[in-house]
Symmetry: D2
Subunit: 301 residues, 4 copies
């Protein structure tokens, strides 16, 4: 048993850390497959019962994870194969997308903090259409059906004095979207997933997670419309990495190190520290482009 | 008579251009004074009747203008004397500020367009308190009274697909501020006012003005709470400058040039062009600091 | 005769304003052609004699101008047809490019001033190779010939305390490039050329021109190696625009307005003001990408 | 004995890790004192012999370290007490500063990578005077003596194709400063020093250290003039943190964990990862201001 709580926003990692302990999990269905041509590994975790939800410490719903090793590397085409796969998964998760929809994209996070700027940057690159449709009708796009896409960057509480959920709720009540897509930077448990994993879920955003800890509930329950959440882990909590490494080495050595994380000065020094890649500035820029492209594509008709 | 419409966001300039034509104006009261110690010239234009409103092409209300020649120049103290004067005027305009208030500051404009970024930058520098007061009470500030200050940067329609008025309205309905302060970059008629004039009014924001033309009504009528607007002219429409120069030179020469602005290729080429100062990037940064300081001070207790 | 000096960095505009006055010009050869498929108009001005140089107020040499109306508009492909044409012209102007060369690209201008940031942004997007070739040899690129490309952003004198020419000279003497390519934002005389004209010349950079007025000589004479200069006009001096408009309207009316630019308060107010397009931030970003792509292509083997 | 090499740019940390092993160190003199009024702890490490240099893995010379716990926190006055202390130490280290000097400040690092942007940002905030002194003489400052201050941001090799040492050498040979001050972000060994420690040394910059690993020698030997280096640790290598934590916990437990860092997959995953504070963007901005102020003050007469 772990001597400290699992800290990860990824259902995939939650699953792994529990599997190690408990083997089979009731109420949790896992499927995996590879996209040969694009070298993307897709994992679908479905939490179907309250028991599964309790074990995974995540709400009932579907969690899709796209892992692409190359995603952390520069690419001239901004990883088009990944954005296409993500578009495909988004189309599956968003209800009734063959009908014309009004979609509000929410870019969560802090524009002024590199590792937390994923959401705002995705919003910046998005193709918004709502104002054009409203003023000129679908004729402006020469199509029979056009989704009305809008976007908001609510900012973080330290800068706005408001919870981002308050702002989003106000905008939702004023503009009545059919569905909300919320994008945010995540915290992973392991560096091997940093910047190369995209999680999509139909369960929305839940409090107390994310890089900047700025998240309040953005869910169908709180907003009244379905909420799809897209996230990429850009940091790992520093204390988590140290704790995990110690356990792993202890196991390899058959010689576990005992420590009380709450008491240890070693861990206290790691408070408010995170581990990130050296090229995080460039990486967040690139990832935000890949994700905004996938949303643009999923919502094109 | 002018062969084209006056294009200015400044009540002061509207007054000047009409005075030349019509002398005395009924329904418009103008007072002026100088702050000797700080070399700030203050003009108070009050539009008191429908006639005055029609003549000035501006709503009934109070328009204060602070002119400080040095404001366009760098200053180590970020023009503290100007922010103090502005704080004083804000205190006069905001109703019942001796009572504890909840204040929402709206940073209008486009963060990505230098001359239009004044509003967002003011919001960035603001001291927001609402979330702290809500969580810890006034005790957190060790004061008997604390205004709850929040801030929002709604973004521009081309980026959000929504009118900024829709977003602000949603946030107002969700968070119930007692008063809104909206900050925006303005268009002036004359370069001599660029970056050295601050206008404050209790009439709010009206459509069709501002640098980016992104403004919809933010008024007591539309939002249900008083709206104070603060603006600084950062650009002049290029065609306006050319037209004005021609008229002025013609008058000096006793030899007016006749031209039809709508027809002239000279003017068509100036479409979507504006005149701004060479150091606009630095200037907007500095001005935003001066204004956010004045709001911080006006709302401190 | 003009009552004020022509202020333009474009040989094309210098030619036009003189042609109007003097008809044929000895020592100046002009050729023009259209690239049908790409809608680019190319003008080649060759100044061949001292007389031509004196008349044009520009040094002896070749000045190529690419005009593409669409260049000022957004384009998904970042105007690939323009960067290809520019690459072709660069290949003609750079001596002996079939041989392996060492090329230093200099990004002139001020990163912190939007309209002046073209040079620094081009340098940012450039494919530099010199360090790789030096460490791993041509093998790293799997090619028989590889140009060694390096880049420097010297900054402006107000920020460095040095003339950019001093910095570039030091770098040239230390790293011995075969040729220098200098990129800078220019001032045009007419708004109709803003952001849609690219000038390339083999005469280098000459003092007293450019947006920020930060330019000192970067020429074969001063640096000891050929200097190719690439420039795009991003601003027009505000006083120039007003003066030109008045002359043009006066001529149309058969009623010239007489004025002394040095004396007129109208013109004094326009001091340090420039005219630029409303979307200058986005435009400079896009243009810098088009130019860096053309250099990348011209220098690929 | 450590199973992996000490990786720190701080002489202070090198000293600590050796002291633990070897007790007294010949050729290394350490003095420490506290500035009571400002709560700054100063440590002066002098390496005086080849033996000391070998043991410390650092060149012979003086290393001053200022530690101020509050430095990592926001401060309205940008930590004036720290910049004053640093100015005092700089005045001691720079030779003959009572004479008029020409000083070149070099901002090392990568402007586009948050944790590595300290040097460029210090250069941005600096008061440069060389161009004014050259053009108008000391009279411009109304003083008898004025140091001629210049600044350069050479950029990183991946962007320039040149070693920053090549660029700096070229500039030094062209402009002949009497002394060079080089500023850079450092890597520390322990998170407890992150953002709250400033190191100043008269030994210049040595290869293979720094955040971005972009450093080549900038020393009196390579440049021909004295080189003062100022650095602040903004990151810790992630593998170092894990390794140190394991050793420390093992020691506390009397139960050392044995591992081969080169072999361990745990450590391989930490490759190219670093640990930094959550507010690194804001912190680097603030620290750069404190340091540029200290240089401005040290060089004012």
């Amino acid at each position: 048993m772990s001597c400290f709580q699992v800290r990860t926003d990824l259902a995939l990692e939650a699953r792994e850390s529990i599997r190690e302990a408990d083997g089979e999990l009731r109420g949790v269905i896992v499927e995996e497959w590879d996209r040969k041509e694009s070298q993307i590994h897709v994992t679908k975790v479905q939490i179907t019962t309250k028991n599964g939800s309790r074990l995974m410490n995540k709400p009932i719903g579907t969690y899709l994870t796209l892992e692409a090793f190359g995603l952390a590397e520069p690419d001239e085409g901004y990883h088009r194969e990944v954005s296409e796969e993500l578009a495909r998964q988004l189309r599956n998760l968003i209800p009734d997308l063959e009908e014309e929809k009004s979609v509000l994209v929410v870019g969560l996070g802090n524009r002024a903090v590199t590792a937390d700027a994923l959401g705002p940057k995705v919003a910046d690159n998005l193709l918004v259409t709502r104002h054009v449709v409203k003023e000129f009708g679908k004729a402006a796009y020469n199509k029979e059906k056009v989704h009305a896409v809008s976007a908001i960057v609510p900012g973080v509480m330290a800068a706005t004095g408001m919870e981002s959920a308050e702002i989003v709720k106000g905008v939702v009540e004023q503009t009545h979207p059919d569905v909300v897509i919320a994008v945010d930077a995540l915290a992973a448990r392991s560096t091997k997933r940093l910047n190369r994993t995209i999680q999509v879920t139909d369960t929305g955003i839940h409090p107390g997670s994310g890089v900047g800890n700025h998240r309040n509930a953005l869910t169908e329950e709180s907003l009244g419309v379905p909420v799809i959440a897209i996230g990429v882990p850009t940091v790992v909590d520093a204390a988590t990495i140290v704790g995990d490494a110690i356990q792993k080495l202890g196991k390899e050595n058959g010689n576990p190190l005992l420590f009380d994380r709450e008491q240890s000065s070693t861990f206290m020094e790691l408070n408010n520290m995170y581990v990130t890649s050296k090229d995080i500035d460039e990486t967040v820029k690139r990832l935000s482009f890949t994700i905004s492209e996938s949303i643009n594509e999923a919502l094109s008709l």
